[in-house]
């Protein structure tokens, strides 16, 4: 233990010995707080779902990214399919 640590521990050990002030509740405090709590908007069934909303959004976002990533090659091949079909039409026209 260095010098400072010794001094600090000595100081806080002494501070811990200080008697705690009695925790007297101010007059009417509980009644006032209870009345204010009663004035708060009542919890609705939807409120309990609110905390899932953000997680749901994250999961939905992750699913979207995964879906795009897995189908990216499919999207590209679809585009090449379009060109293929356009060529087919061209071929059909040239035949007629």
């Amino acid at each position: 233990m260095n010098r400072f640590e010794h001094q600090w521990q000595k100081l806080v050990a002494l501070a811990r010995q200080a008697p705690a002030d009695p925790a007297a509740m101010p007059f009417g405090f509980a009644t006032r707080v209870a009345a204010q709590a009663a004035a708060l908007p009542a919890g609705t069934p939807w409120r309990s779902l609110e905390r899932f909303a953000f997680r749901g959004l994250l999961v939905a976002g992750a699913c979207s990214v995964a879906a795009i990533a897995f189908n990216y090659s499919g999207l590209l091949s679809d585009q090449s399919d379009d060109y293929a079909s356009a060529d087919t039409v061209g071929e059909l026209l040239s035949l007629s």
């Binding site: 002494l14 811990r16 008697p19 509980a30 409120r47």
Partner: protein, 195 residues
């Protein structure tokens, strides 16, 4: 807690049904716990009663979120600690610490602690507590909270982590940083005292 026979589960059930008498009983039951936390972490210029009231109103607002995974007083303690830390963070400027700001008793206690000349007397405890609070007021709010819980309330790193929601490594880092700052303060005070 004031009354060990208090039916907390039943009371919570009635509070959820908007029973105002039960809400009042719950406040009365938890007041000593909340008051102790508020007094330990009370920021400057914030009335103890106002802060306690904020904590209880947050508790009632979030009551639907309490799922019983931890004892209810622990859950309320966490609300109290986070509310105090929010208040401390809101106070951007910390007062400069000067030797002249210390009372005669505080200066004497600090002198005794620093010089190790004589053992401190039990009567010096109140002055020591005031002095520690003045020193802690110089720290960043998060660091102050860690030192308060660690050194004054003698909580373990795991308990502080559970109370604050910070991981244990972060708690250790904050304790280290706070002690370094306190050491610097001690050195500054020593040099001022000599000069």
């Amino acid at each position: 807690m004031a009354d060990e026979s208090f039916d907390l589960v039943g009371c919570l059930e009635r509070v959820r049904r908007r029973d105002q008498v039960a809400a009042r009983q719950l406040v009365e039951h938890l007041y000593p716990l909340v008051s102790r936390i508020v007094r330990s972490h009370l920021p400057r210029r914030v009335a103890e009663e106002d802060l306690a009231q904020d904590i209880f109103l947050k508790m009632f607002t979030r009551l639907e979120q309490y799922q019983g995974n931890v004892p209810f007083p622990h859950w309320v303690s966490r609300i109290a600690v986070t509310t105090c830390i929010d208040q401390l963070r809101a106070q951007k400027r910390r007062p400069e610490f000067r030797w002249a700001d210390l009372s005669e008793n505080e200066a004497e206690v600090l002198d005794n602690v620093m010089t190790d000349e004589r053992d401190v007397l039990p009567g010096d405890a109140l002055a020591a507590r005031e002095l520690v609070q003045k020193l802690l007021a110089q720290l960043k709010p998060d660091d102050r909270l860690v030192i308060q819980l660690l050194d004054l309330e003698q909580k373990t790193i795991a308990e502080i982590s559970a109370l604050t929601g910070w991981n244990q490594t972060l708690v250790k880092v904050r304790a280290f940083r706070a002690r370094r700052k306190l050491q610097k303060l001690f050195q500054e005070l020593q040099s001022k005292e000599k000069s």
